[in-house]
Amino acid sequence: MSDSAYIHIQSLTKSYHKGKTLITPLQDLSLDVPSGEFLALMGPSGSGKTTLLNLIAGIDSPTSGLLQVQGRDLGGLSRAKLTRWRSDHVGYIFQLYHLIPILTAYENVELPLLLQKLSKRERRQRILAALDLVGLADRATHRPTELSGGQEQRVAIARAIVHDPGLLVADEPTGDLDRESADSILGLLDSLANDHGKTIVMVTHDPKAASAAHRTLHLEKGQLISGS
């Protein structure tokens, strides 16, 4: 393990049963991601990239192998402790944004902060700072239906960073956007890695999106086949 590895993965395997069939989306995978890196994971459908992303995000648990994030062994955490860890250390960006439709942009961004012991004033400062960072300070009172796709994804990014996590995981964050919006989102992610020191792991099918990352890894049948 490299001293600077933010994410350290060694011989990681994930398998589960679907009916009587044993599925192994990840097998004996090893990987180090240094702090502040913007990493893209590419590969065909079923290659295991989203499974890997979910394991890194603490949404799923490995079957065997070692998965450490910032030195914390996620494989040894209970479901409740994983949830707590996620709320402190991870920001998740979904392909379809998944904002809560009845809440305004401000209220959506506020959600992760409801889990922190912060005053209303502190929450407000952080929310406005996050919205300002994604360029949507003037859309705070808008509901998701009043925003474009690109703007919704920006709100989702603001929601992912508002509690200042060290790790951002993004599952095809530009998959539902036009080129212009996608480029804008990728620029924002790049800035979060370069200017704010966030470690970013992004799954994408889009080579152009992957080119925005510092490094791209290709997966196939649950194993890494190449990197650039």
Binding site: I59, R79, T83, R84, V90, Y92, H98, P101, L114, L115
Partner: protein
């Protein structure tokens, strides 16, 4: 917690029609429950004797209905001389219906000069004691009776063949007084053609509650060989005995209350299950963000509590207002049971509504987070 409540409120406002229908259903169920509880409570208040009760009722033996009970008015002095008796008042009662009825009109004929001393709890709301004393056909009408009939001081009205002038509207801590019209005894004896010197009953106040039994026995013994033997019992025991039909009827309504509560439970649980199922993905998103299973469950429970509380308040307040403004009285054999709303019932019903909301939300709350996050996220 306040943020969670705000979040739950917003979630409920998402599907306004579903929430409104659920609230109306809860309100209807809790209205019925509160109505049944009001009847039960009113009956309990009217029939449960307390240590402070010192009133006996003397009726003609085996004839409890005012239309058949006849006692000589001169028994008054004999009863008053029995040791332990503090006060005696002869009463002539005339009612429109001796059987079970929801709209009982009761005239109580009493010596006007004795009423004030015998019943100091009576308070004048409108009119005056003087107006009552000065006219032989004057009536002091209980406030519920007056509201039901739309009467005010100065009005004239006729019922059961008796024409009276409303001298005053009265209120009292005794529910019975609020539902009757007090008139002069001689006037009622003549107007109802019972005849002077004849009364329906005597109400007797004894010095202390522990003398009730002994004084009652002494009264009955005194008149046992008389032409008109008596049956004397504590007022509330007499009410409980005579009100058996009402008690059976009201006891049956308990099943309606249980049915209403069960319906509310099912309704809220069903609504919450629908809510939980429609938000599987959203719940997964919240869990991904870092909301724990307990916190997600709390959001569902809060929604259940809000549905129970808001719907319950609507229904319970409606029932409260219904009984307050309609002033129902249930009568049987001349006794009136005022179905009066009470704060105790109100608070208990709100507690029940909250408990139902909580209980109904437990399974949906568990269901919301029962599956592994990865499964619901990929659903």
């Amino acid at each position: 917690m306040s943020q969670f409540i705000a979040l739950s409120l917003k979630s409920l406002s998402r599907n306004k029609l579903r929430t409104l229908l659920t609230l109306l259903g809860v309100a209807a169920g809790m209205f019925l429950y509160a109505a049944v509880e009001t009847m039960q409570h009113s009956l309990a208040v009217a029939t449960q004797a307390t240590a402070d009760d010192t009133t006996l009722v003397v009726y003609r033996e085996n004839r409890y209905c005012p239309s058949t009970s006849r006692l000589p008015e001169h028994y008054h002095s004999t009863i008053a001389s029995i040791p332990g008796v503090r006060e005696v008042i002869p009463i002539q009662i005339t009612v429109n219906n001796c059987g079970a009825s929801l709209d009982v009109i009761t005239f109580r004929g009493v010596p006007p000069e004795d009423l004030r001393d015998y019943n100091p709890d009576i308070r004048i709301v409108e009119g005056s004691w003087d107006a009552f004393s000065q006219r032989t056909d004057a009536a002091m009408v209980g406030k519920h009776f007056a509201r039901r009939r739309g009467l005010t001081a100065g009005d004239k009205f006729e019922a059961v063949g008796v024409n009276v002038n409303v001298a005053a509207i009265i209120e009292s801590d005794s529910a019975q007084d609020n539902n009757v019209a007090y008139v002069h005894l001689p006037f009622l004896q003549q107007a109802s053609r019972v005849g002077l010197g004849v009364v329906t009953q005597f109400n007797v106040k004894v010095d202390s509650a522990d003398q009730l039994e002994s004084v009652a026995a002494q009264i009955d013994l005194t008149f046992s060989s008389d032409q008109q033997p008596t049956d004397t019992r504590p007022e509330k025991a007499f009410f409980a005995e005579t009100a058996k039909q009402m008690i059976e009827l009201i006891a049956f309504t308990r099943w309606l209350g249980i049915g209403a509560v069960t319906a509310v439970l099912g309704l809220v649980a069903n609504a919450l299950l629908l809510i939980v199922r429609s938000r599987v993905k959203e719940t997964a998103i919240l869990q991904t963000i870092g909301f724990s299973r307990l916190q997600i469950s709390w959001l569902v429970v809060i929604e259940g509590l809000l549905l129970g509380l808001l719907g319950g308040l609507l229904g319970i307040a409606s029932a409260f207002a219904f009984f307050h403004f309609r002033s129902f009285t249930l009568g049987n054999e001349g006794l009136t049971l005022a179905l009066a709303p009470s704060v105790e019932v109100l608070l208990r019903a709100i507690g029940i509504a909250l408990a139902l909301g909580m209980l109904a939300s437990l399974y949906p709350a568990w269901k919301a987070t029962s599956k592994p996050l990865i499964q619901t996220l990929n659903a």
